[in-house]
C-alpha cells in the first residue's frame, strides 16, 4: 500500500479522537474563585472542569440575565454524525480513490470545520447577548449600547470581574492534525505518481 493512502487513512481516523478528548475549554477567573470555573465543550456534551462548575457559572451569569447553559444543544447530534460521515468518506477515499480526492476531502473538512466554528460563534454570541430584560444588573458599553457577555471566541478577555479564556483542546488539535494530514497525503500521492 502506498504511503499516501496510509496517511490519508490516518487523516480520516484522527478526528474520531473528538469522541475521546474535549474540543474546547472556556475558563472564568475571578478573585473569589481561587480555583477558576471552567467548562469543556465536547463533540456531544458540555462538562464541568471541576465538579458543579457549570451550575456555578449559571448562578453567576443569571445576575446579568444570561440564560442557563443548556444540558444539550442540537449541534451535539449533528456534529458527531458529521464527523462519522467525513471519516467514512475519508476511509473510502484512502482505499479506493485517486489522490486528487485526498485534496477534495481536505477542502471538505476545512469547510465543515469552518461551518462548525461559525456555528460556535453564533451560539456564543446569542448566549452572551440575548439577555433577560428583567436582569438584576444591567451594564452598558461606553457608547451607551447594552453590554454583551459573550466569551471570547479564541483567546482571553475581561468580562466584568471575570477574566475569560477560550482555547481549543486536544480534540480540536486532533481534528486539525487530521485535516492537515489530508493535505499532506495529497502532496505525497502526487509525488508517488510522478
Amino acid at each position: 500500500m502506498k504511503k499516501s493512502r496510509i496517511i490519508m487513512a490516518l487523516a480520516a481516523l484522527l478526528p474520531l479522537l473528538l469522541f475521546v478528548f474535549p474540543l474546547w475549554k472556556i475558563t472564568l477567573e475571578a478573585p473569589q474563585y481561587p480555583t477558576p470555573l471552567g467548562m469543556y465543550i465536547h463533540i456531544n456534551d458540555f462538562s464541568d472542569a471541576n465538579p458543579h462548575d457549570i451550575k456555578n457559572i449559571n448562578l453567576m451569569n443569571h445576575y446579568v440575565g444570561m440564560k442557563y447553559i443548556p444540558d444539550a444543544i442540537p449541534e451535539f447530534k449533528i456534529f458527531p454524525i458529521g464527523i462519522i460521515i467525513t471519516t467514512v468518506i475519508g476511509l473510502i477515499i484512502a482505499l479506493k480513490a485517486n489522490h486528487k480526492w485526498f485534496l477534495y476531502w481536505f477542502i471538505m473538512m476545512v469547510l465543515v470545520s469552518t461551518a462548525g466554528l461559525i456555528d460556535f460563534y453564533i451560539w456564543e454570541y446569542d448566549y452572551g447577548h440575548d439577555l433577560d430584560p428583567k436582569a438584576i444588573m444591567k451594564f452598558t458599553n461606553p457608547d451607551g449600547s447594552v453590554m454583551g457577555f459573550q466569551p471570547p471566541f479564541f483567546g482571553s478577555k475581561d468580562i466584568l470581574n471575570f477574566r475569560a479564556h477560550s482555547y481549543p483542546q486536544l480534540g480540536a488539535y486532533c481534528l486539525a492534525l487530521g485535516i492537515a494530514l489530508g493535505l499532506i497525503s495529497y502532496f505525497m500521492g502526487k509525488k508517488e505518481r510522478n
Binding site: 456555578n56 448562578l59 445576575y63
Partner: protein
C-alpha cells in the same frame, strides 16, 4: 584570565560563609535572633503550618487555631448549644445533646486527642471528653463537626479522657469522681470501700469511627485524674494517674493529700480485651445515650442503651498494677518510645519517671508492696526510671519533642521546663504568663511528635492584654523549641478556658477536607433535590415547609394559610454546590436560633407563631451581592380563619 579566577573563588567562598551564617541565625538563640514577629507571621493568603485544637473548657466547645499565627479559625460546637451554627437548636442536632439526664446543652470539655494509625496522627477524628455529664464526643476532621457523642454510665467527672491508643482501637473515659456503682441512695460517709471508679474503654470502628463501649473496669474508689496510652513496646497498656487514694470524701484539699504516694494505675487492656472477647465480664443494667450524626441524612439520632459490660480487676489477674507515685500526680505522660511514664506529682518537689521495662520485670518477679482491693502494688524503687530533681513547683503535664527532650508545665512556679530523658537534667526554663496548665506539642501524644513548637495554656493573664473588665481573656503562648533554648514567640487569646490541646501538621488534615455536601447524596427525611420538590403541607396543626435556598432567594418566598397555634417546621435545603457558600435563615419570633446551612445540606427549625400578621424571614449569612434581598414573608391568620395554604415565588 588566570588572575581573575581566585577572586571568583574567593567571592563564592564568602557567599557560602554568609549563607551559612544566615542559616545559623535562624536556629540559634544568639543576640542576632531575628524579629520573633517574623516567625509567627503568616502572610495574607498563606496557610499556617499546624492546626491546634484547643478545648474550650467551661465553654463546652473545641476551638481551632493555626500555628504559628495563633489565628482562630473556628469554634466547633460539641457539648454546648451554639446559636452561630444552630447546634443543639435545630431539629437535626438536638438529639446530639440528649443524655440519660435529658437534654443537657452544656458541658466542660477538657482533653482533645487526635486519632492515630501505627502511633502516628492520621487526622481523621478528634475525640474530646465532657466532664460534667460524662460524655465522649467525636469530631470528624473532614467537616470539622461533631458527629458522635456517647454518654458514659457509672461515671462522674469524666476527666482522665479522651485519649486514644496507637491505632485508635480505643478511646478511654476514666472517671474523676468515684461514685456508688450502680448509683444508689447511701451515706456519703460510707464512701470508703463502697464507691467505685469506672475506667471505660470505648472501641472505635476503624472504618467510620463509630464508638461503642466495649467494657468498663470497676476500679477502687480513687480519683482518676489523667491518662495516657502506652506505645511501641508498651502498646496494649494504658496508664491512669490517681489522687485521693485515701478515699476521703470531705475537705479534700487536706484529706486527699495525706498519702505520701498515690498511684499510676497500669492497665493491660489487651489482656482485658481478650478476657472480654472470651465471654468474660458481667452485663450490668445501665442507661446511657449514644448519639450519632449521619452525614447523608444530615440528622442526629439518639439511642438509649440499657446495659454495659463491667469487669472487676480481680477477675483478670496480671492485667492491672499500681505504680506508687508521689504525690497527687496529675499528668501521666508516656514518651514517644513508650518506655517512660512521667508522673507529675502536683504536691511533690520532684518529677517521677517510671520505666516500662522495669515495670514488666517487677511484675515478672512478683515483688509486690502489698495490694489495694486485690490489685498488686509494685515497689516504687523497682519501677523508678529516674527523678527530675526539684525542677519547679506544681508539675502538671509533660510533652515530648521526639528528640529525647521532655517539656513540663509547672503551675505554681508558672513556667515550662525542658529536661532530658534518661539523664533527668534540666536544660532550660521559660516563664509563662501566668499559671500555666497544660501544654501541647503537635503530635505530642504520638510516636512522632512535630517538635517545632510548644503551646502553653495559661489560666490567668492579668496585664498581658487590654483589660475587658473583671473578666480577662485566658491565653495560650507559643514557644519555638527547635533550638537548644526555648523562645517565647507569641501570646494569643483563647475561647473559654484553654484547658488542653492537640496539634497536627496542617497538610494531613487539609488533604481530607470536604468542600460541599453532594446534593445528590442528601438523604435528609425532609430534604429536597430541586425547586420542583418545593411545597408546603398541613398535617393537623403541624405545617411542614419544604423550602430551597440558592443565591439569592428562598423558594417559596411567600407563604399564606398559616394560623396562630400552628407548629411550623421549616425544612430548608441549600441547593448550592459551591465551596464556602452557606446560607442562613431566621424567622421572627422563633424561639431557637437561625440556621446556617452548608451547600447540599438540609436543616429544620420549628416556629410557633403566636400573633396574626405578616412576618418576614431572611438570610442571615452574607451570601452574594443580593444577600439583602434574600427574604420572604409568612402570613399568619387567626386560629379560626379558613384561608387555604398557598405558597409562591415571583408572583
Amino acid at each position: 584570565m588566570k588572575k581573575l579566577k581566585y577572586p571568583i573563588v574567593m567571592s563564592l567562598a564568602l557567599a557560602f560563609i554568609f549563607i551559612g551564617c544566615g542559616d545559623q541565625r535562624k536556629s540559634s538563640n544568639g543576640a542576632l535572633t531575628s524579629n520573633v514577629a517574623d516567625r509567627v507571621y503568616v502572610a495574607p493568603g498563606e496557610h499556617d503550618e499546624y492546626y491546634a485544637f484547643i478545648s474550650g473548657g467551661f465553654s463546652g466547645q473545641l476551638s481551632v487555631y493555626g500555628l504559628p499565627s495563633g489565628r482562630l479559625f473556628k469554634v466547633i460546637p460539641v457539648f454546648s448549644q451554639d446559636a452561630e451554627k444552630a447546634w443543639g437548636y435545630n431539629e437535626e442536632t438536638k438529639p446530639m445533646l440528649n443524655t440519660s439526664h435529658g437534654f443537657v446543652p452544656w458541658d466542660d470539655s477538657h482533653h482533645p486527642d487526635i486519632s492515630q494509625t501505627n502511633g502516628e496522627l492520621d487526622g481523621r477524628w478528634v475525640f474530646i471528653n465532657g466532664n460534667n455529664t460524662p460524655r465522649i464526643a467525636k469530631i470528624d476532621l473532614s467537616v470539622f463537626e461533631t458527629t458522635e457523642i456517647i454518654e458514659i454510665p457509672n461515671s462522674a467527672g469524666n476527666h482522665s479522657s479522651a485519649f486514644v491508643t496507637e491505632n485508635t482501637e480505643y478511646v478511654v473515659a476514666g472517671t474523676r469522681f468515684s461514685v456508688p456503682v450502680p448509683q444508689r441512695d447511701m451515706p456519703i460517709s460510707e464512701y470508703k470501700g463502697n464507691f467505685k471508679g469506672a475506667l471505660t474503654f470505648i472501641s472505635v470502628n476503624p472504618e467510620d469511627g463509630g464508638m461503642n463501649i466495649k467494657f468498663q473496669l470497676l476500679m477502687p474508689g480513687f480519683d482518676y485524674d489523667l491518662s495516657h496510652p502506652g506505645r511501641g513496646n508498651s502498646h496494649g497498656w494504658f496508664f491512669f494517674s490517681t489522687y485521693n487514694t485515701e478515699e476521703a470524701s470531705t475537705l479534700m484539699e487536706v484529706n486527699a493529700s495525706q498519702n505520701d504516694k498515690d498511684f499510676i494505675a497500669a492497665v493491660n487492656w489487651k489482656k482485658i480485651e481478650e478476657y472480654v472477647n472470651n465471654g468474660g465480664g458481667t452485663m450490668m443494667p445501665a442507661n446511657y445515650a449514644h448519639n450519632v450524626y449521619d452525614e447523608e441524612t444530615h440528622t442526629g439520632t439518639s439511642t438509649m442503651k440499657k446495659e454495659v459490660l463491667v469487669v472487676n480487676p480481680s477477675e483478670v489477674p496480671d492485667a492491672v498494677y499500681l505504680l506508687p507515685t508521689p504525690k497527687s500526680p496529675h499528668g501521666c505522660d508516656v514518651d514517644p518510645t513508650g518506655e517512660y511514664i512521667v508522673g507529675s506529682g502536683k504536691l511533690s518537689a520532684d518529677l517521677t519517671v517510671h520505666s516500662f521495662t522495669k515495670m514488666l520485670a517487677a511484675i515478672e518477679g512478683k515483688k509486690y508492696d502489698g495490694d489495694a482491693y486485690g490489685i498488686p502494688i509494685l515497689k516504687f524503687e523497682d519501677v523508678l526510671a529516674g527523678t527530675v530533681s526539684q525542677p519547679g513547683l506544681g508539675p502538671l503535664h509533660t510533652e515530648f519533642d521526639g528528640k529525647g527532650n521532655a517539656y513540663t508545665t509547672f503551675f505554681i512556679s508558672s513556667e515550662v521546663v525542658k529536661w532530658k530523658l534518661g539523664t533527668w537534667e534540666v536544660v532550660d526554663r521559660q516563664p509563662c504568663f501566668y499559671s500555666v496548665g497544660h501544654l501541647m506539642i503537635p503530635g505530642g501524644n504520638s510516636r512522632k511528635p512535630f517538635g517545632k513548637y510548644v503551646v502553653a495554656m495559661n489560666k490567668i493573664t492579668k496585664d498581658r492584654y487590654l483589660p475587658t473588665g473583671p473578666e480577662v481573656t485566658q491565653s495560650a503562648q507559643l514557644y519555638d523549641i527547635s533550638g537548644e533554648k526555648m523562645e517565647l514567640l507569641l501570646d494569643f487569646p483563647t475561647v473559654g478556658e484553654p484547658h488542653y490541646a492537640a496539634g497536627i501538621a496542617a497538610d494531613i488534615v487539609k488533604a481530607r477536607s470536604k468542600k460541599i455536601f453532594e446534593l445528590k447524596n442528601n438523604h435528609h427525611k425532609y430534604g429536597i433535590q430541586s425547586d420542583a420538590d418545593v411545597r408546603v403541607e398541613r398535617n393537623g396543626k403541624e405545617v411542614h415547609i419544604y423550602m430551597s435556598m440558592i443565591r439569592s432567594h428562598f423558594n417559596p418566598d411567600n407563604i399564606e394559610g398559616i394560623k396562630v397555634g400552628d407548629k411550623v417546621y421549616f425544612h430548608v435545603t441549600n441547593l448550592e454546590q459551591d465551596y464556602d457558600v452557606p446560607h442562613g435563615v431566621s424567622m421572627i419570633g422563633a424561639n431557637t436560633s437561625e440556621l446556617l446551612i452548608m451547600p447540599g445540606q438540609t436543616e429544620t427549625f420549628v416556629w410557633e407563631p403566636k400573633q396574626p400578621g405578616v412576618w418576614p424571614f431572611y438570610c442571615t449569612d452574607f451570601c452574594s451581592a443580593l444577600h439583602q434581598e434574600m427574604q420572604g414573608y409568612v402570613r399568619v391568620s387567626p386560629a379560626n380563619s379558613n384561608i387555604d395554604l398557598s405558597w409562591s415565588l415571583g408572583e
